[in-house]
Each structure stands twice: as C-alpha cells, then as structure tokens.
Symmetry: C2
Subunit: 182 residues, 2 copies
Amino acid sequence: MDRRQRKTREAIFGAFTALLAEKDFEHITVGEIIDRADVGRATFYSHFETKDFLLKELCAELFCHISDAVEENCDHKHIFDCVAPDSAFLHLFMHLQKNDNGILELLSSRNNGLFLRYFKDNLMRFAENQLPHFISEKNKSLPKSYLVNHIASTFVETVHWWLTGGRKESPETMTGYFLAVL
Amino acid sequence: MDRRQRKTREAIFGAFTALLAEKDFEHITVGEIIDRADVGRATFYSHFETKDFLLKELCAELFCHISDAVEENCDHKHIFDCVAPDSAFLHLFMHLQKNDNGILELLSSRNNGLFLRYFKDNLMRFAENQLPHFISEKNKSLPKSYLVNHIASTFVETVHWWLTGGRKESPETMTGYFLAVL
DNA sequence: AATAATACCGAACAGTATGTTCCGTACAGA
DNA sequence: TCTGTACGGAACATACTGTTCGGTATTATT
C-alpha cells in the first residue's frame, strides 16, 4: 500500500477516534474529521464511501486486532475452538484491560451502543464454539441459536457493566462474574 | 390540552411510527414526517425540539403504556413488586404478543438498537424488584447492580431473539427460555 | 535519473436537511 | 361573541453531504 494512503488512512482513523471519545457518532461531521486529520475533503471520500463505512472499518480493525492478540497470547492455538471458557474469556478481559488502541474509550463513550453491537456480532462465532461448555441439564433442550445469542450478549453486557462501573474489578473477577451467571 | 394540539401530536406520532417501520431513524427527515402527518413545518418544531426528542417521547409513551397494561392484567397489583417472575415476564411477553401500538414493528425494525435500549432502561427498575427471586447459591456473592443489569439485558436479548426469529414461539415458551438461562 | 502513475490539495459546486421567522387564517375555550 | 393561540404556508439563513476539477507533490517503475 502506498505510504501516502497509509498515512492519510491513519490520520483519519486517529481524528475519528478522538472525536468519538468527545461526542456522539451522529453529531460528528465529515468536516470535523478532515479538519482534525488535516486532510482534503475529496481525499476522505476517496478512502471511505461514507461516515458509516469509516465506522465499520474502524470497528473491524479493532476487533480483528483483539482476536489476533488473544490468539497469540494462547500460543497460536485457536483459543475459542479448543480452550476452556474461563481461560478464553479471561484472555478477552485481560486484553481489554490492557486497553490497546484506546478501544475502551470507544466502548465506554456515549457511542457504546454502536460498538457493543459490533462487539457482539464478532463474539457470536466465538460463542458458537464455546457452546458445548455451557450446555447443562437445565438448558439442553433450548434452541442452539438462543443459547449462542445469550452467551455473546451476556459477555457484552458484562463488559459494559465493567466499563460503566469504572473498571475497578480485575479480569479474573469479571470472568468469575460472567461464568457465575451462565 | 387543546384538541388541535392533541390531533397534530397524534398525527406526527402516527406518521413517525409508520416511517420507522420502513426505514432507519437516521434516514427519516423532518420533511417526510410532516408530509405524511400533513402538518406544517413550524408546527412540528413547536411540538418537538428535534427529531431525537420526538423519538424519546414516543418511546416513553409506548413503554408507559406497556407498564400500565401489564399492571391492569394483574388486577391492579404492582406486578413487578410482588408477583412471581414467571407470571410477571409472561405477562410482558403476552402484551408484546398482542402488539398494541405496533410496538413490535419498532422493536424488530432496523431501529431495534434504539428501542431495545429504551426498553432495557425501563426494565431496570422492574429487574430490581424481581432480584430476590433470582438469587441463588451460585450468584449470591455477586454485586447486586451486576445481577440487575444481567436480568434486564437478558430479557431484552430474549425479546430481541424472539423478534428476529419471526415470533414463532408462544409467550409461555419464551418465558420458559428466559427463566431457563437465569 | 527520467518517466509514468497516482494520491493529494483546495476550492467550488449542486443538492438536501435543519431550524427559524413571518403573517394571515381558523379554530378552541370562556 | 370574543380573546387567545395553534396552525399553515412560504421563505429564509445555515450547515452538511458527496462530487468535480485542475494543479502539485510523492510514489513506484524502468
């Protein structure tokens, strides 16, 4: 990729991220983004079709980065395929704790609805692989898709509660909470 | 309240509701609303400060209406204060099933993110009253606010799953699912 | 080093949405 | 009947979007 392209792309992502920490996504204008990124208007639109696509790509990068990092921590195993749930989700919490890329600012900002939604979408396939670990006598007759949805959304809601509460608990504690209610 | 005010208010709500069933909230313009409601532009803005406030007031009316109806069904008892959880949540599902005010169209449209959020906010205080019914050996040491949040969001996610799946299950079945995972 | 390709800027552009203001009309409640 | 006020219609300034253009600087290619 052309170095110029990479630079402007990063400048736009940076400006956009900073703005997201300040105000609602809906109230951010392209004008503000290009001002802060110091980039021409036409340049912006040559990179991103609309503001929504910019958000989508940002989310994709962030969550993709999380997945990669979690898998690395786990000796290149496909963590969500084979590892026990406490370990898998603990690593997710730990990576969030590290707060790379300022992902926590985004998840806890006023825009958290948007991000948590993307977060959940990305978690669904993980939850699917984790499903066998959560089957019990009580829920084994329930539809699989309902259980998968429940696992993913419970994790997202747990993260959300953690963030809005100021992230006082350790990743270990949060993993404990999460597993206790499932 | 002046009959004229009431009429235009209802006309706007009606037009807005119909539009919400067709497209995203963000892509609905004030122009479209007042066209369909057959109302002057200035009139709209004398009723609602912005489009966001219109949404807020619509949600408030709908959820207020649900709460009232559920309480009536229950012989004017404060259902969420005193009734067993299966009964309380069953009544909620049944009222949703009846689909008054087209609330289901709103909850299942592309706008569901917004509405489910309001829905959850309204459920939080109910979940608080229901909390004692959900305390178990396993979760009794967890923070109360975490459990309340978990109950409310699990219910919302259950409704969401129900809606996106086409509402094929009966309210009794859904209540069963909901209680099984808690 | 010379060349071709292309990413960029900046400015301008039409199109559309917002929220406000005005005055004349029609309806409500007393 | 009378007074207040909600309404309609239209115009308005302002702001944001997404596109277009010609000129410049940087990149990759040879």
